[in-house]
Assembly symmetry: C2
Homo-oligomer: 335 residues x 2
């Protein structure tokens, strides 16, 4: 067997840590022999959780971290000051090459800042985008960037398009992924300054399959595989996806309570509705990668369950085996 | 009776013009005696439609316009060259004070450009925002700006907040409307340069009820009445609202076809679902106002039916009776 992929899991990150983080890690170990896990956080709390399970103890290790970065702490300050937090300790393991990937359901801001300043960007990569998969009518699309890189420049968006294409092709398995830029009209001359300046760069780039502008209306329809935008717009799209789906489903459910007829109908459709929504939400990767770093950082949702943590861990295998970072270095940085 | 409010309707604008535009105009006349209508467009085509109805002919007038601006024509060029189009002819009537308002379901781009360059902005107003109402869990919110004013400045957004507040209070009847700025986090220090610079201006402005940042996730929940953002972001929100609602409903409907049980359930819930969605979509204003102009311009959806046109026309009454433009002049420009 080849050498194991070492994945650090922030045991303290997320709403239900360390319960679900430890459980997710143990479950991931059972699925594949390819990985070993390092849990960062308070040893006693982690051991307490580990006691609940039987697992291959040769493949799991605890690295003590006294501190936890909270969701409401200013990220830059927290990363600077809390050197002994589960996030900074975990990221340092990746930086020093003692681990291949870092998974956390902790503070998004802290993970983004830590990714850039602790793990560090691949030489030549100007910004490290957060790139979640969003569900569409016919599968899923990569929304890149949803991070904290506000006020982006055209050269950043070009790299996002390139990194996003590599990820969708080699990790998700989409052949010749269609790349589109979010715009307020389909015509080439439309858009704000950033989009107008980025458009020709994407058009001229020979190693992506650029299909032009995409209006937000067509994103849920799955008209592109890699949706390029600056982080403010990406954040609005991602959050509105969550908010509107939830409001619409809630509205429909409430509406079904208005008559006996619709109540009965509601009971009959429940399993099909549940299954459909599950399918729409797609095969969950468990987390969004932060691309372009010296090592992989995966951000899982703060409300992750153990399944999400497990999936986020398993996602790192494909990323590592496909040598995504080597491909990024070869294809982007040397241009 | 006081003088009638004169409303110009672009008879040729929209997917189903002049049928639905003429029908909508005739229906509006029947509802209230407060208005008279001027239809701009090809006289023969309009007369052909008018023949189908009985109406008070003293309150309807045709002004001939030979040309029509198509949906795919570059707006600036079209407004400049087609001086004899139904849009330019209609807007000139408002500009010269021969009418109070202009309603069109034609090309959004042409209406935005024509509003700024034909009708013209109120002195002191820097940009004229397009401000549609969007449905929320507990009513509707004004999304301002969704127009073509890309690369906005903080002073523009401040005026949007003020004009939006006046509109929501006096036209929609929301007491002390809550104003929020779209941001990628709730904290004051978050956001891109534009939001960071706009935030203190909104906070210091004494004539609006500023409640801080709103994340896109909370927009469908109705957490604010006036949602301030620059046009690129507004456009993304508006279009994603349309696209995601449509995709989700389609996905649910398709999912219900998978078993006999869910098919039966689907039939039972159909009336309640339809009613609920109708309620969620809110009391339709029929169109979005373009605020801050020397006269009112209302943009109706390209796919408007006669009801939408009728509602867009009726909306102009409240706007006119409340003297919205005088309020804008008094409250904003003189600051």
């Amino acid at each position: 067997m080849s050498e194991q992929i070492k994945i650090v899991v922030d045991a303290m990150g997320g709403d239900d840590a360390p319960q679900v983080t430890v459980q997710g890690a143990v479950e991931a170990l059972k699925i594949t022999e390819k990985i070993s896990i390092i849990l960062t956080g308070r040893t006693d709390a982690i051991e307490q959780e580990l006691k609940k399970y039987s697992y291959d103890s040769s493949r799991i290790k605890i690295v003590q971290a006294d501190d936890v970065i909270g969701f409401d702490e200013p990220p830059v300050m927290a990363i600077r000051k809390k050197k002994n937090s589960s996030i900074v300790v975990g990221m340092n393991l990746v930086k020093r090459g003692e681990a291949d990937a870092f998974v956390s359901a902790g503070s998004t801001g802290a993970i983004l800042v830590g990714g850039q300043f602790v793990v560090g960007r691949i030489k030549g990569i100007e910004r490290a985008p957060l790139a979640p998969l969003i569900p569409t009518a016919n599968g899923q699309s990569l929304l890149i960037d949803c991070g904290a890189n506000v006020d982006a420049r055209p050269s950043h968006l070009l790299q996002f398009a390139q990194m996003g294409s590599i990820y969708m092709k080699h990790v998700i398995g989409v052949d010749n992924p269609r790349v589109a830029i979010v715009n307020i009209g389909a015509e080439e001359e439309k858009g704000n300054m950033l989009v107008k300046e980025t458009y020709p760069l994407l058009k001229e780039c020979s190693d992506i399959n650029f299909v032009g502008s995409i209006e937000a209306r067509d994103i849920p329809n799955g008209d592109a595989d890699v949706i390029v935008c600056e982080a403010f717009v990406g954040n609005v799209i991602l959050k509105l996806y969550e908010g509107l789906s939830s409001t619409l489903l809630h509205t429909v459910k409430t509406g079904l309570m208005r008559s006996l007829r619709s109540k009965v109908g509601g009971l009959l459709i429940k399993p099909a509705l549940k299954q459909t929504m599950k399918e729409f939400m797609g095969e969950d990767q468990g987390g969004a990668p932060l691309l372009g770093l010296n090592g992989l950082v995966v951000k899982a949702h703060g409300s992750s369950g153990s399944d999400d943590i497990k999936n986020a861990i398993l996602q790192c295998i494909q990323f590592n085996e496909e040598g995504i970072n080597d491909k990024i270095k070869e294809n982007i940085v040397t241009q």
